[in-house]
């Protein structure tokens, strides 16, 4: 689907297309969010999606369902209970010990069977390794459309899902519809949507669904699972404070200044893409469209120009501080605080100043 050569054909065209929604798809109702659970842990992107799902369901005047697939036992029960606290009206549960570890075969069967039986109009999944593996397989099995890595989900005037994602290179956005097929499927990357507020609620309506598979039916076997040693790297997306450096730092040695400031702040560090391409910083530290999306309370960007591909990864930050020698750098168009200065000189001073402030803060506290 290369982009249309001309500006989009018009709502009239879309409305016309919409009328063609085949009769058997009209029964498809309600919004579903796939709750991604692995080894007893729900990926936060699922709750973020519940926030979006709730809004869509309210606009459509339909119900929001959480879909929990996993082993029998406490972890799955806890995920179900939690989904009500994040806004579910009901939960579909496929609980079977065959589902202890994620495998494409078993999870694809569970989710496609559920969809074919209970017919949702919208199905949202996280764009994680698990979510992408599953979403691609499920959409193809169902022969429906799947929009990847959406940054915005809306309901259009004709009640169809308008899923917006960055187009090539991220400099433009495009809105994609799945007009004549159901469900309308979309994935969203972690941290792109805000985490909704958790409200204590009792467990509501739960609909159990059988898997209809036994271990012997599943070809792929898990021989081992090796957990990552370096847990810190995966925290970048969820860090409260992030310090990042770009090409303006000029050398890998200067990038140490970013690490040092992050160290003093108890923050995570990140970088723009060129530093990964040059091999100065590992790929899991890249922030932006093809890296991590972050939503920290404070984001400090040093020597980063603020290209759109970088911007889409940091726009959700509460306070953006940019340090750049060029007063016309695009980053100042979306940063909140600007320091037009040499980052290589400022960073050590900032690290020192923060160190002092934060320890003075300790003294004050102890004194009071």
């Amino acid at each position: 689907m290369s982009q249309p050569a001309k500006p989009a054909p018009q709502p009239a065209g879309r409305a016309a297309a919409k009328k063609e929604l085949p009769e058997h798809f009209k029964a498809y109702k309600h919004v579903w969010v796939f709750i991604e659970q692995e080894r007893g842990h729900v990926h936060p992107v699922s709750w973020e999606l519940m926030g979006s799902g709730r809004r869509l369901a309210d606009k459509l005047g339909v119900e929001l369902a959480a879909v929990v697939i996993g082993p029998t036992g406490d972890a799955t029960k806890a995920a179900v209970a939690e989904s009500f606290c994040y806004g579910a009206d009901l939960a579909y549960v496929v609980a079977d010990d065959v589902l202890t570890d994620y495998r494409n075969e078993s999870y694809t069967k569970a989710l496609t069977d559920l969809v074919n039986t209970h017919k949702p109009e919208i199905l949202l999944l996280g764009a994680t390794t698990l979510g992408r593996d599953l979403a691609g397989a499920v959409a193809t099995t169902l022969l429906t459309g799947l929009t990847a890595d959406c940054t915005e989900l809306e309901v259009d005037s004709d009640n169809s899902l308008a899923a917006t994602r960055p187009t090539f290179g991220g400099s433009l956005l495009c809105t994609i519809y799945t007009l004549n097929f159901r469900p309308q499927m979309a994935t969203v990357r972690p941290r792109v949507m805000a985490m909704p507020e958790r409200v204590e609620k009792p467990v509501g309506r739960v609909i159990e669904f059988p898997l209809g598979l036994v271990e012997a039916d599943i070809v792929t076997k898990i021989l081992a699972f090796v957990p990552d040693r370096d847990k810190a790297t995966s925290n970048l997306a969820y860090a409260d404070i992030v310090v990042a450096g770009g090409l303006g730092l000029a050398s890998p040695e200067n990038f140490q200044l970013v690490r040092q400031l992050a160290g003093v702040l108890g923050a995570e560090y990140g970088c723009s893409r060129p530093l990964v391409q040059k091999g100065w910083v590992s790929a899991d530290r890249q922030i932006g469209q093809t890296g991590k999306t972050i939503r920290p309370k404070l984001y400090i960007a040093a020597g980063i120009s603020g290209a759109i591909q970088h911007r889409v990864g940091v726009d959700g930050s509460d306070l953006i501080v940019a340090i750049n020698t060029d007063k016309n750098a695009p980053i100042f168009d979306f940063a909140h605080l600007a320091l037009v200065t040499d980052a290589i000189r400022l960073l050590p001073a900032l690290t020192e100043a923060f160190r002092k402030r934060l320890s003075a803060h300790t003294r004050d506290r102890i004194a009071s």
């Binding site: 994620y102 459309g145 809105t175 990552d228 160290g263 600007a338």
Partner: protein, 281 residues
């Protein structure tokens, strides 16, 4: 053993520029390359072929000019190249793309020998959906192994394969069966340079060119724009933030101090939170 590697020809993003005024992508004169992620898939396939014997066929769906990328893959070491090209494929989304590619892979199997493994890249750098691999896989009813960092063993007699697969928070070691589809993770192997001999052979080699009909595509309605359930309706520029950044003026103060003051002035709660965080380290 017969391995098919799917590669996509994409514009070289390093050379893409966005027009500063119109905010559109300036594609003119931008050279095309093999999607960088696909090179890791190709390398892994060649490594398996070198170890276990057999052939590697590279496949792409694209315009006639995509032949360049196929020749490049032949230079790197693939045995055969198939170009799937037809105006019916224009405007394909991932569902339509996987439909056409799966048909071509079936045809490759019946023409050149049954396919044991299909490789794809993790994702492309243009469409960037990571959906085509799983799509092809389901259409062929193969076993799906995504985000693979290593093929650790293969048993052609028993028809089994063992791989390491990246998952959230760790690595799954999986055993599965052939035929399977593997999407290969980047940075997992050292992509070889093409040899002189390969380059000479590649220049002379004939790239197999198939239309939809040649590839045995059964239903043309499932191809291209018509076969794509997703529809791009609107392309637009992101809205700029209303106000520009506030410039921190260091009035007689060291700039670092002035900046910290401004930060805490704008977000008073942050001071305590930062203290808590810093203490944790």
């Amino acid at each position: 053993m017969h391995i098919v590697v799917c590669i996509k020809q994409v514009p070289d993003s390093a050379q893409i520029r966005v027009h500063p005024v119109t905010n559109t992508i300036m594609r003119q004169g931008v050279p095309t390359i093999i999607n960088p992620y696909d090179l890791f898939a190709l390398e892994e396939a060649l490594r398996l072929r070198d170890e276990f014997g057999g052939e590697v066929t590279v496949l792409t769906m694209g315009p006639p000019t995509a032949e360049d990328s196929l020749r490049k893959a032949l230079t790197i070491g693939a045995n055969r190249a198939v170009l799937l090209t037809d105006r019916f494929f224009a405007g394909s989304d991932t569902l339509a793309t996987s439909y056409a590619l799966a048909a071509a892979i079936r045809k490759i199997g019946s023409t050149f020998g049954a396919v044991d493994v299909v490789f794809t890249g993790k994702q492309t750098i243009d469409g960037d959906t990571a959906q085509v691999g799983p799509g092809i896989c389901k259409r062929l009813d193969f076993l799906q192994l995504t985000y693979v960092s290593k093929v650790s063993s293969l048993d052609l007699e028993a028809r089994t394969i063992e791989v390491e697969r990246r998952s959230e928070g760790g690595v799954q070691v999986l055993r599965s069966n052939l035929p399977c589809l593997i999407t290969m993770l980047e940075g997992t192997n050292q992509v070889r340079r093409g040899s002189m001999i390969n380059a000479l052979n590649a220049a002379r080699a004939e790239v197999v060119k198939w239309s939809a009909q040649d590839a045995g595509v059964e239903d043309i309605q499932k191809c291209g724009l018509r076969g794509s359930p997703t529809v791009v309706k609107r392309v637009f520029a992101p809205t700029p933030r209303a106000e520009k950044a506030k410039v921190v003026e260091a009035a007689g103060q060291p700039p670092a101090e002035a900046l910290i003051d401004e930060i805490f002035k704008l977000r008073p709660k942050l001071e305590n939170e930062m203290f808590e965080l810093a203490r944790g380290f």
